[in-house]
Amino acid sequence: MTPAISVAGLSRRYRGQLALDNVSFDIGSGSITGLLGRNGAGKTTLLRIIAGHEFASAGSVRVLGARPVENDHVLRQMVFVREDQAYPDFRVGKAVQAASWFYPNWSHERAGALLEEFRLPLNRKIKKLSRGMRSALGIVIGLAARAEITLFDEPYAGLDPVARQIFYDWLLADYAEHPRTVLLSTHLIDEAAGLLERVMVIDRGQIVLNSGTDELRGGATSVSGPAIAVAEFTSGRPVWNRRRVAAQESAVVAGALDEADRARAAALHLHLEPLTLQQLVVHAVGSPEPPARERTSA
């Protein structure tokens, strides 16, 4: 089957700066993928190129099997919701109407329900909306479009936690009824963790982690307790990171633990705590993990 999004050898250079460096991946259709990474890591550039808003310096991007740039057929099946999206000088109702004309799978019913849920005033000029309300409008359009390819780039600037929860719940509900390919870039990893089937972590223009969340979960554990016991438990295991105060130590052990490991930890009076997805991603990006592998681009 053709992947929904296929990126091969993609690079993007801005005046000598490499924003994307030989990026390759495929995303299958009908999935929710998290695109994670620090500010300036290349997330927005990657999404803009997938959305056909920007050209690649090298490499190729295929969306639904075709090049997205100026391809009307592909663009109508793709919605791209950006952080701080700019709109023409419209009122809310007009912007929603314009979007409904463009997207063939548009759901008026879903749009209406979401506008109400986010309490967006249809008559208000978009310029007069607060930052959070503008984000909410982007989310309404992004979800109601029911586009086969749905790209969200940090869609919740200014949104309060209640509104973010509305976004997650409606994304999930609408996705369950109408599966599609969702790529969501976010900093709020733990908030979105349950939604994501895969995570891709981008750092300094390169994909440093591309994995199913099921494989990641439980992939590292924080072990803490008396330093002697921690030393005994961790000996011979890959350790990412150690912290120590007086005779207490906390170490992060890579790799899954089995029942025997747990029994042994209990016998040593050690406290085990699995790393959250967010902590795992932080390690992927910034930790001095396998010391053997050196970073060349610093």
Partner: protein
């Protein structure tokens, strides 16, 4: 951390979803022949991806604890509870008794004292003696 109805980060989410359902089958909350929640219902409740919920269901289907009835949904299979309980009895010593005895040893509680404690606790919970 987003609330996922009690699921945690320690194990793959689909495994935890399967364990929750298995618990309900074992304690009789989900009797044999009963329809289990659909993938989308589970996804909405736990706030997880529907594909993850589907993997949890598939795990129980592979163990033949659930069966599919075409067009209606997934149901608890006949004999599921009995098989589940037999399996859990086998794991009981390893998962509960051994750690209990180990901790008792550390605290200097001998076997007789431990048995007495278990009897008392069992009475307190209205448990029955064989």
């Amino acid at each position: 951390m987003r609330e996922m109805a009690g699921l945690d980060e320690g194990a793959p989410l689909f495994v935890q979803v399967a364990e929750r359902l298995a618990d309900e089958i074992a304690d009789g909350t989900l009797p044999e022949g009963e329809r289990v929640p659909s993938t989308n219902e589970l996804a909405a409740y736990y706030r997880i991806n529907p594909a993850t919920a589907a993997k949890g269901i598939a795990m129980l289907t592979d163990d033949t604890l659930l069966e599919k009835r075409r067009g209606i949904g997934m149901f608890v299979a006949a004999g599921a509870r009995t098989r589940l309980l037999a399996e859990r009895r086998k794991r009981f010593a390893e998962r509960y008794v051994q750690p209990l005895v180990a901790e008792a040893g550390r605290l200097g509680i001998d076997a007789d004292e431990l048995v007495t404690l278990i009897r008392e606790s069992s009475h307190g919970q209205g448990g029955t003696r064989p």
